[in-house]
Symmetry: C2
Subunit: 323 residues, 2 copies
């Protein structure tokens, strides 16, 4: 694959996807105020963000609605209470997690929904179940992506086969997801080339969702863009599980398309994200996340450690080596 675009011109195929509520909701159990969500919506519209992900379509059979904020479930009414009929140019997304979503019931026909895009999150070994959701959502009239998680932990032969399966599906796009924040730019370029090859063969766009365990979420995102990846996930002030994601403010300041505007984002950061951080919501690069990322492990041990207020990094490291 050759370089796509450069640092001076616009790549018209690029789409910015705000995942603040969905990945950030993993930090605070989706307990955002309506004021926060409304302001985020208005901010994204003003900033030229292309898609805003509202949260998960999680099964109410499996998850207690009293223990999570409403954005874990994303009822049609909850979203409409914020956006009305969404008179903006920005599209709305939700995530359907394989094995945790009653998609047949909870994802209604597109003609009755203000949602535009269903993002199907799957591990590589769950592909048949993911394909069922993809085909169901497509038949109902949505745009659909397949987000293959934890790519750093999957065998290349399995990734190849999964890509071929989703290539032959009705999905519109395929996401590279570095769930563990384990990958270096050199690896991301190789993976992007592989995904782009499948995308060109089957006419699907490629997206990226990066984590910041090694302070590489932004770098990996922009390096993948240069290989042709076009759907770019970011979150306000990096908010997301553990070390968080690619920061929206970094991504918007990088992109050259004049439709993007950093000013409303800076306003939102000072008015909403700083108070959220100060209220105790805990995310962002820290040594424990570096260590799980480096060891290609799920961040859960680092999250527990950070919440326990521990700072004995060296002991934590030797503990991890035993896992």
């Amino acid at each position: 694959m050759s370089q796509k675009g450069d640092l001076m011109t616009v790549r018209p195929d690029v789409r910015v996807v705000d995942a603040t509520i969905r990945d950030g909701g993993l930090v605070n159990n989706f307990m955002f105020t309506d004021d926060f969500i409304s302001a985020l919506y208005r901010t994204n519209v003003k900033a030229g963000v292309d898609y805003m992900e509202f949260g998960y379509k999680a099964s109410k059979e499996m998850f207690d609605t009293s223990k999570f904020g409403k954005w874990k479930f994303c009822d049609e009414d909850s979203i409409r209470a914020i956006v009305g009929d969404n008179p903006s140019d920005m599209k709305l997304a939700v995530m359907a997690d394989v094995g945790r979503c009653d998609y047949k019931k909870d994802i209604i026909d597109k003609k009755d929904s203000v949602i535009d895009l269903i993002r199907v999150a799957t591990y590589v070994h769950q592909m048949p179940a993911a394909l069922d959701i993809i085909e169901d959502a497509k038949a109902k009239g949505y745009e659909v992506t397949c987000n293959i998680m934890a790519v750093s932990n999957a065998k290349e032969a399995d990734i190849d086969q999964a890509l071929d399966m989703v290539g032959q599906s009705s999905a519109d796009g395929i996401y590279i997801v570095d769930s563990y924040g384990a990958l270096y730019p050199e690896q991301i370029r190789r993976i992007a080339d592989k995904y782009m090859e499948v995308g060109e063969k089957y006419d699907k766009f490629i997206g990226i969702h990066a984590h910041n365990n090694q302070q590489l979420a932004f770098a990996n995102t922009i390096e993948s863009v240069a290989r042709g990846v076009s759907y770019l996930d970011a979150t306000m002030m990096s908010m997301g599980r553990g070390a968080g994601n690619c920061a929206m403010e970094l991504l918007i300041s990088f992109l050259k398309n004049p439709k993007y505007n950093i000013y409303p984002i800076l306003k939102f950061l000072e008015q909403y994200m700083l108070p959220l951080k100060e209220s105790g919501a805990l995310w962002g690069y820290d040594i424990p996340y570096l260590l799980t990322g480096r060891l290609n492990q799920h961040p859960s041990a680092a999250i527990d450690y950070t919440h326990a207020g521990r700072s004995d990094y060296a002991d934590f490291y030797t503990d991890l080596l035993d896992k």
Copy 2:
């Protein structure tokens, strides 16, 4: 230039340079305790770090010794009080800043000094003065590097000429210095290729000193390594002016040479760097530094803003646009 090395093997030409005292000293006016410096020295030796920079050789005519810690001046006796005759394999460095250093007097003959490497910091328009220091230090018996600062702000023709001048000098190495944290990996690769070409022509190694304004210090460092850059600056927990530098813990966890050991570094971070942060020393990625980096400006406005405890990011941004 082709890729040098890969993610699995050892690049024996790589050298890790700890710049914690020198760049970190810009945060706290070099007011480190002797205990901190001794522990840092022992940590670097145990971790396999190749060079440790102690600070500046600043002119005592120009700077009031009562207003700065001793590492702004790096008297021979100060260093020997920490390292004795430096019985380790690790080499010691100091920085001589063009126009701020009485090098003829303050840099003594190598045979009388425990210092191994003189790093000459210069802007591109100061090259003749830099060359005087380089030749003086080389004649006295030291290893010497030329660290051309603020490369993002210099014209390419001027950089080309400066590289040719230092190429013909006695310097052993040339540093890429992204003082403003303004450069993306794509730009760093191009710059690294240019410097490497000069390095191969004149038999000089190339180094990199990155800043973290856009969370790219580590990414830019490892991307430059893949183009052949071999002297890599890093600081403990990124400590350095403004947004700080490439984090030592990230760099050591990346490098594959078994001589490097992250464990003593993690111990040092928990025992010394966390308390230093908690005592109020202020550095690291933050929105104001992103904005000066993006606008290719010196971080001084962001440093002032951060020290004033302000968080009106949007107003700060509009202020910067007027500068």
